[in-house]
């Protein structure tokens, strides 16, 4: 067993303008990046890990000063883990528009000398992928052995396979979808409305007023969180258990689930930026690669050259199995190598973050195959 991972974040700066899908252009930007393992001489062992809504570049390990908490996918990525950093060189990138060090709404806009706030342009999944590609360029990585992500991260993995077909050998998309459903967009919009209607939102320029739309952000997180858990999981964890001795006939915290959600919401509102939340939920809503191909996902995926692993969790009601199956069907239609997992796990959408023997066993086997195919020594 190797020593525990110590991660050192680095800021990678770009001065070449980035054309965004919206038409806007970012003149300069910086991305916070963490890497684990060693890039081999042929630069063939690189794996890009894409993060979902609230995560960051800090995928695995602990910070150098140990003050930073464990990475968000530490059970998946590390020495001897399914994505084994003794073999692979793993990169985590905090996406553009996020709030963990990369350029985003909380950064200073050089043109005005003030925080971007609501003026930060809307970015899409494709824009993130373009920005990540420049990180790969900076490291001299021509092609990733794999691009992997869950949920919104899985969308980025799919987008990579279509946008940079020569640069992705394996695409691993977990608990994800190639398009949100009307219900998904509806939940996202309710979350956005919670933020937009908070009096402290101030049209997105709350920072200038020295306030934070904490209540809106907290409610947005509570809504999101409900969709990440399964009904059964919630019933088992909380049931109808009361926090108090007896019901109070009031609006305070009475049920355990209320206490849990409010705690999650409050915690989130302390570290996450409201403009970032708005922008990322929009990126989710907009993602629809089939749209540029007359609604044909197969035509969109025909651009890809990678091998695919698609995984779905049986209790994920946020992204139904049909959303994964349509990706698989499209990949089969265009003759791509694809494996598809329907993992029986009780934890709903968030199962992709959790340790599960069958899930991790399958991923471990898949990455061993990647190592064999890309000639990465054990």
């Amino acid at each position: 067993m190797s020593a525990p991972l110590v991660a050192t974040p680095q800021l990678v700066e770009f001065s070449e303008p980035l054309q965004l899908r919206s038409g806007a252009v970012l003149e300069r930007y910086a991305l916070m990046v963490e890497t684990y393992g060693t890039l081999n001489a042929s630069r063939s062992n690189a794996v890009l890990v894409c993060h979902a809504l609230n995560a960051s570049h800090h995928v695995a390990g602990v910070g150098a000063d140990a003050a930073q908490s464990l990475g968000w996918w530490d059970n998946m990525v590390g020495p001897g883990k399914p994505v084994d950093t003794d073999r692979f060189f793993v990169i985590g990138v905090n996406n553009l528009g996020s709030c963990f060090g990369s350029t985003g709404p909380t950064s200073i806009d050089a043109r005005t000398g003030r925080a971007w706030g609501a003026n930060f342009p809307l970015v899409t999944v494709e824009d993130w992928v373009d920005a990540q590609a420049r990180v790969a360029d900076r490291f001299g990585i021509e092609a990733f052995a794999a691009v992997i992500g869950g949920s919104l991260g899985g969308m980025q993995a799919l987008a990579w396979s279509m946008r940079y077909p020569k640069r992705v050998r394996h695409c691993v998309s977990i608990a994800s979808t190639a398009r949100l459903s009307a219900q998904n967009i509806a939940f996202n919009d309710v979350a956005r409305q919670a933020i937009l209607s908070d009096p402290d939102f101030r049209e997105g320029h709350y920072a200038e007023f020295g306030v934070v739309p904490r209540r809106g952000l907290s409610v947005a997180r509570m809504i999101g969180h409900i969709t990440y858990l399964s009904d059964d999981d919630m019933a088992e964890k909380f049931g109808r258990t009361l926090r108090v001795d007896d019901i109070q006939y009031g609006y305070g915290v009475e049920f355990e689930i209320e206490s849990y959600l409010r705690h999650q919401g409050d915690k989130f509102a302390q570290y996450f930026d409201a403009n970032t939340y708005l922008l990322i939920t929009k990126a989710l809503d907009y993602f629809d690669p089939a749209r540029d191909f007359g609604g044909s996902l197969a035509a969109a995926l025909a651009q890809s050259e990678a091998r695919f692993l698609i995984a779905y969790f049986t209790t994920d009601w946020r992204f139904a199995p049909e959303r994964s199956r349509e990706v698989v069907r499209a990949l089969l239609e265009v003759g791509r190598d694809v494996s598809y997992l329907e993992i029986d796990a009780p934890h709903g959408h968030d199962a992709f973050l959790l340790d599960d023997a069958r899930y991790h066993g399958a991923l471990r086997g898949y990455f061993e195959g990647i190592a064999r195919r890309t000639g990465v020594a054990a």
Binding site: L309, R325, L332, V338, Y340, E342, I343, A362, G365
Partner: protein, 200 residues
């Protein structure tokens, strides 16, 4: 990497064209597909429901889709495979006729194997008033995963009624072909089917 293939699987593998596309329904740990990929350069996919076997397929470097066969083959387009393999799994599927219709839709040809209930040891057991428990049917009547029992003759009738032409059939016992009294001496039935409409 050369793999030693079980003799009945080797028999089936001999019927598959090099470089063709193969879909194996109930592919287990993917041993046969891995062999076809490596030795015959076939384009292979398997369907399997059991999580441990799915994991084994992935470790074997085989494309595997985790699915319940009872849900049909909705993932696959019409005539999208040269050969579909349904090896010792059809007898465990509830919707037999629907399954055969799906084979006809998705595959240009299908190879189906199943335990032959006309095998002499099964007949002897029935004559003695007992349900057979044999090497090919090793289960008790109350715990068997097998739902449908048929003989070579019965299956041939259904295959024709389902719009298939029988291109080849054989009975095996312990992996070897039985040519004399196959429905009595063969424990495993093997059929190669093609959709009749395809015939010139």
């Amino acid at each position: 990497m050369t793999r030693a293939l079980r003799s009945d699987l080797a028999f089936v593998a001999d019927w598959i064209e090099p470089g063709s596309s193969v879909l194996d329904l109930g592919c287990g740990d993917g041993t046969l597909l891995a062999y076809l990929q490596e030795s015959k350069q076939c384009r292979c996919y398997g369907v399997e429901i059991d999580a441990d076997k799915v994991r084994a397929c992935i470790a074997n470097g085989v494309n595997v889709l985790q699915q319940n066969l009872e849900e049909g083959l909705a993932l696959f387009g019409d005539r999208s495979f040269d050969t579909i393999l349904q090896l010792e799994t059809l007898q465990a599927v509830r919707q037999t006729e629907q399954m055969l219709a799906e084979l006809r839709r998705v595959g240009r040809a299908s190879i189906v194997t199943f335990p032959n209930f006309g095998f002499w040891a099964d007949r002897v057991a029935i004559l003695r008033g007992r349900m057979p428990v044999t090497k090919t049917l090793p289960y008790q009547w109350f715990d068997t995963p097998n739902l449908r029992f048929s003989t070579l003759y019965d299956f041939a009738d259904l295959a024709r009624a389902s719009g298939f032409e029988i291109r080849d059939s054989a009975a095996l016992h312990e992996g070897r072909r039985v040519d004399w009294l196959p429905n009595l001496r063969g424990s495993l039935a093997v059929f190669r089917l093609e959709a009749r409409s395809q015939q010139a």
